[in-house]
């Protein structure tokens, strides 16, 4: 992410810090401060209902139910479950999904089984946004406007091959929420480089060889900014480290109409070469280093930023992924790491990612 966001004209809303969750009387009575609220880490009985995660609700839709074939530690399966259950709660279960070809589609529908408990269609790799447009048009023609539409796909199907259809959907003002699960490469086909692959990352088509530091610097598309350039009602980024935040953004999106876009960072242990138990931790580091800004934008302007709690150097993030191992092998490539650090620093500055009362 190297481009600058357009300037905000109004003061930005700060996305609430989980530390500032509204304390229920019971919580206040204990005198304790709870972090990571809204997940199973802290019992949801201690929270106000409005702060409670959708996943904590035994009546949750379970849109993508157990039995799918995702890898252990798959960030996309995690993100999709949270996103879709939140969307289903927000729409009272009146939701249809269009899914691009990719990991999510493949691991969720091994014929004759399906994990999906909502109406769901997979057409092609490049057309999920257009299929979603078609579903929305049909519903409008049929007068069934209580039913909402969600399109989803990976970074390859969204940022590369699906970009024309996505841009068309944005431009026409179609009433579709599109969610991109970004694991920064074409994972389903064996980890090849996409326009979302970060600089210096190893993929099967950007191997770190003499003279090639992995994926090149100066390339790539900033999809959230591209979405913002269409001036659509709502754009947001999120990670699977802050799942309640992801749910809240999906709920916010479903309260609006028109084209909406959410870009979710979903680490892929296989493709990133990270430990399967560290998916959430690595997603958190992506945010806390500044490499993945977490923000919201409305009508083309940044409207809210989720601040970094404790700024970390990019090395903390890079070292935990084998796709960056070549930067640290032997003498290492400190100049490349420095360039990545510079990208992170620029994001911090341009998006205003540091909280005012920052603990350094």
């Amino acid at each position: 992410m190297s481009a600058a966001p357009p300037p905000a004209s109004e003061p930005r809303r700060r996305i609430p810090d989980p530390r500032e969750a509204v304390a229920s009387p019971r919580q206040a009575a204990t005198g304790a401060r709870f972090y990571q609220t809204g997940t199973f880490a802290v019992g949801n009985r201690l929270l106000e209902a409005s702060e409670s995660s959708v996943q904590a609700d035994p009546e949750r839709a379970n849109a993508i139910t157990k039995g799918h074939r995702a890898c252990q530690g798959c960030g996309e399966a995690l993100g999709a479950r949270y996103a879709l259950d939140a969307a289903l709660r927000a729409t009272g279960g009146r939701l249809i999904a269009a899914n691009a070809t990719g990991c999510l589609e493949v691991f969720s529908t091994p014929f004759p089984e399906s994990s999906w408990r909502l109406p769901w269609i997979h057409s092609l790799f490049a057309n999920a946004p257009a299929v979603a447009t078609g579903i929305a048009a049909a519903l409008r023609a049929q007068g069934r406007t209580d039913i909402r539409v969600i399109g989803q796909g990976g970074d390859g199907g969204t940022v590369d091959i699906g970009l024309a259809c996505l841009s068309g959907m944005f431009e026409r003002g179609d009433d579709v929420l599109y969610v991109c699960y970004d694991n920064e490469a074409y994972m389903n086909t064996g980890v090849q480089r996409s326009a979302a692959t970060p600089p210096a990352a190893r993929t099967a088509t950007t191997e770190p060889l003499p003279g090639h530091p992995g994926n090149a610097f100066g390339q790539g598309k900033n999809m959230p900014l591209i979405a913002m350039a269409h001036e659509i009602p709502y754009v947001a980024t999120a990670t699977v480290a802050e799942l309640r935040d992801l749910e809240a953004k999906v709920e916010r999106a479903m309260a609006l109409h028109g084209p909406r876009y959410i870009h979710v960072l979903v680490p892929c242990p296989l493709g990133w070469g990270s430990a399967t138990a560290e998916t959430i931790a690595i997603a958190r580091l992506a945010k806390e280093t500044g490499l993945f800004p977490v923000f919201e934008a409305e009508d083309g302007r940044v409207s809210g930023v989720s601040p970094i709690r404790r700024l970390r150097p990019v090395e903390d993030y890079l070292r935990r992924q084998k796709r960056y191992a070549h930067l640290f092998a032997g003498a290492g490539q400190p100049e490349v790491v420095a360039r990545l650090q510079a990208l992170a620093d620029r994001n911090v500055e341009r998006f205003g990612l540091l909280a005012e009362e920052e603990e350094r």
């Binding site: 249809i96 004759p112 109406p119 269609i121 078609g134 929305a136 023609a141 068309g168």
Partner: protein, 421 residues
């Protein structure tokens, strides 16, 4: 009551009477008049409820139609040429999913070199995509075929493309009837999809199928199209009973019963062929013309029955398979296997070149004399191609590159200003 109408407008009005709920289209010559007319009808409220979606490409057009059709809405689009190719992946997807989308293809040549005029290379390039392919012999049939197409599509759960010759039919003004709304409503019941995206009954559409089941799934697609061979004549009969006009059968025969020479063709050239047949018969030659109106599914048995008594068959086609020869004639050959009826392949009318009565008469003479090449390119300017081949072999005059064929030929014909060759 007929009106003097442009072919495209008759098609658009007929399509509107079929009550499509989602019309999505990307402009490409020569289909534009059809979708422009539909756009006006939707905007003016004449066609409602209907969503008209201006898409960003033909690939998007077919994708939007897929989403709409999967949601249980009647979906329609139109395209031609490069646009049809651009949606190729989506065509296979639509037929594989059994979605009853109807599409008009205003047949136009495929580039390179770019050419906006009529031939069948577009639809022929996608003959295997699993769509039903119907070819209209004239504008009245083109319009009426859409009514049949929508009914066929939803009854067989198959997408249907109605092919009509670009410019020749789309841009021709002639007396045409648009099927009455009550007639269409009686013939075309509300679309009740086999499965649909519906929160009340969630289904998963588009799952991956592996080697253990793929063959069976694909066999069923073939079986469905073969069933259409029975459905099409029945639906054509029903439509003819209601509107008094015949259209959209499997074949259209003109004076074939006792014909020694039968010319088989698709599309609008059939009208010219009928004139030629009458002229030949007046001159004492026994001839007939056979229009193939359903190309996919291919009416093998009906064709065999129609041609069994002929002494020779000339298949006149407006496309060909590079490196092999005829496309339609290959299917005709297969249909006539074992009958010892010679089948001549004639490639004609490529890229909008006119197929004239004069050329057709000469063609029949040559066929009867047995002097046709195989395949025979009608009206090929052999001098020009031989000069160009010689030029290619020799290199440029200065020994440099010989240059592109298209430009050299156009210069040779004097269409482009002569320059150094």
């Amino acid at each position: 009551m007929p009106s003097q109408l442009e072919g495209s407008l008759a098609v658009a009005r007929t399509v509107a009477r079929c009550r499509p709920e989602v019309v999505c289209a990307y402009p490409i010559t020569p289909q534009t008049h059809i979708v422009e007319a539909l756009s006006r009808m939707v905007a003016g409220g004449e066609l409602a409820p209907c969503e008209f979606v201006n898409v960003e490409s033909e690939f998007a057009a077919m994708s939007v139609a897929i989403g709409a059709s999967a949601t249980g809405a009647r979906a329609y689009t139109a395209t031609a040429s490069q646009g049809l190719l651009y949606m190729a992946e989506a065509l296979f997807n639509a037929s594989g999913l059994g979605l009853p989308i109807v599409m008009t293809v205003a047949n136009r040549a495929i580039g390179a070199p770019i050419n906006i005029w009529n031939d069948h290379s577009d639809a022929m390039a996608l003959r295997d995509c699993g769509w039903v392919q119907l070819y209209a012999s004239d504008n009245q049939e083109a319009a009426d075929m859409h009514v049949l197409a929508f009914r066929l599509a939803q009854e067989c759960s198959l997408p249907v493309m109605v092919c009509m010759d670009g410019f020749v039919l789309t841009h021709a003004f002639e007396p045409l009837e648009v099927a009455e709304q009550e007639l269409v409503d009686a013939y075309l019941p509300r679309f009740a999809p086999r499965q649909a995206l519906d929160p009340d009954e969630p289904v998963t559409i588009g799952a991956m199928v592996g080697p253990e089941a793929f063959t069976e799934v694909r066999y069923l697609a073939h079986a469905k199209q073969m069933d259409a061979l029975d459905a099409i004549p029945a639906l054509a009969d029903e439509l003819a009973d209601r509107c008094g006009r015949r259209s959209g059968e499997l074949l259209g025969a003109y004076r074939c019963a006792d014909a020694a020479t039968v010319i088989v063709a698709l599309g609008s050239v059939f009208g010219t062929l009928c004139e030629v047949v009458d002229e030949l018969r007046a001159a004492g030659r026994s001839a007939g013309a056979l229009a193939v109106k359903s190309f996919r599914p291919f009416p093998r048995e009906e064709l065999r029955a129609a041609l069994a008594g002929a002494s020779r068959v000339i298949v006149l086609e407006r496309a060909f398979s590079v490196g092999v020869g005829g496309i339609v004639s290959a299917d005709v050959h297969a249909a006539l296997a074992g009958l010892h009826v010679p089948v001549h392949t004639v490639i004609a009318g490529l890229g909008g070149r006119a197929i004239t009565r004069r050329s057709l008469h000469a063609l029949v003479e040559q066929a009867c004399a047995g002097t046709l090449a195989d395949p025979h390119f009608l009206d090929l300017d052999t001098a020009v191609v031989e000069r160009e081949l010689a030029r290619s072999r020799a290199g440029g005059r200065t020994g440099g590159r010989p240059g592109p064929h298209a430009e050299n030929i156009l210069r040779d014909l004097g269409i482009v200003a002569a320059g150094p060759v």
